[in-house]
Symmetry: C2
Subunit: 148 residues, 2 copies
């Protein structure tokens, strides 16, 4: 492949598939959560007052609003999040991280960080990892609520 842009894109797609596969297994067995659920909780954990509207969550997770509705439902049954209306705007239904949810996401994030470190454990230097993170950050820049 002689076209670096194209090569970068193709490899990014492949790397993503590998990482998702790798993380899904570990997370599910450790905390009973899917990767996307952990990301949802992480967004809540870093949001002001630990709450976000479903629309905001959808944008941050790159999914549709209907998916957020359906992802929040089981988390609400597990008491990891609660639902709260906005006093000013009755259309808004915030997803709010509970104390239990905060604990869970802290643990899940710790597991994720370990798994992330494992990805680079062999044959990567710290500067290389930092460079990769920096370059990838420029591909996601301009979005609100960047987690990393």
């Amino acid at each position: 492949m002689t076209n670096p842009s194209f090569s970068a894109v193709l490899r990014l797609l492949g790397a993503n598939a590998r990482l998702e596969e790798r993380f899904s297994g570990g997370l599910g067995s450790l905390h009973g959560l899917a990767l996307k659920e952990v990301l949802l909780l992480m967004h809540l954990a870093q949001a002001p007052r630990r709450r976000l509207s479903r629309i905001d969550l959808a944008k941050r997770l790159y999914v549709s609003p209907s998916t957020v509705t359906r992802m929040a439902a089981p988390l609400e049954k597990l008491k990891m999040v609660s639902r709260e209306a906005d006093p000013r705007d009755a259309r808004l239904a915030y997803v709010v991280l509970t104390e239990a949810g905060l604990e869970l996401v802290a643990n899940a994030q710790a597991s994720l960080e370990i798994m992330a470190a494992d990805v680079f454990r062999d044959r990567w230097t710290q500067p290389e990892i930092a460079t990769l993170a920096d370059l990838l950050g420029r591909l996601t820049a301009g979005q609100p609520g960047d987690l990393g």
Copy 2:
């Protein structure tokens, strides 16, 4: 985020979501194909005798064998691929790229390359793109049939 490994992983997930969204629209309207279908055809195009077993395709695309079966069916109806049995091993059902499929994938790949270049058009230097491609390549290394 102070952990570079974790940051890199999170950003990779986000960048992937953005790129898939971006490419799906353009490809679909231009060639009537989904991104994953183009990748399937690209793998065939670079394979010896332009054919791969469904199992091999599944590994290269990071999907299950059943998904390959179902992705191949519509492409076969469109005469972009054909099905051929292995003369030595009757279990193998190769997906073979037709001439029409070869033409289609060449065009679709050209579109993809343009879209990939667009991703980096602003604020990226050639060495930066090359570095990104190189680093991402190390995350996908060790897989057979790397496209990029």
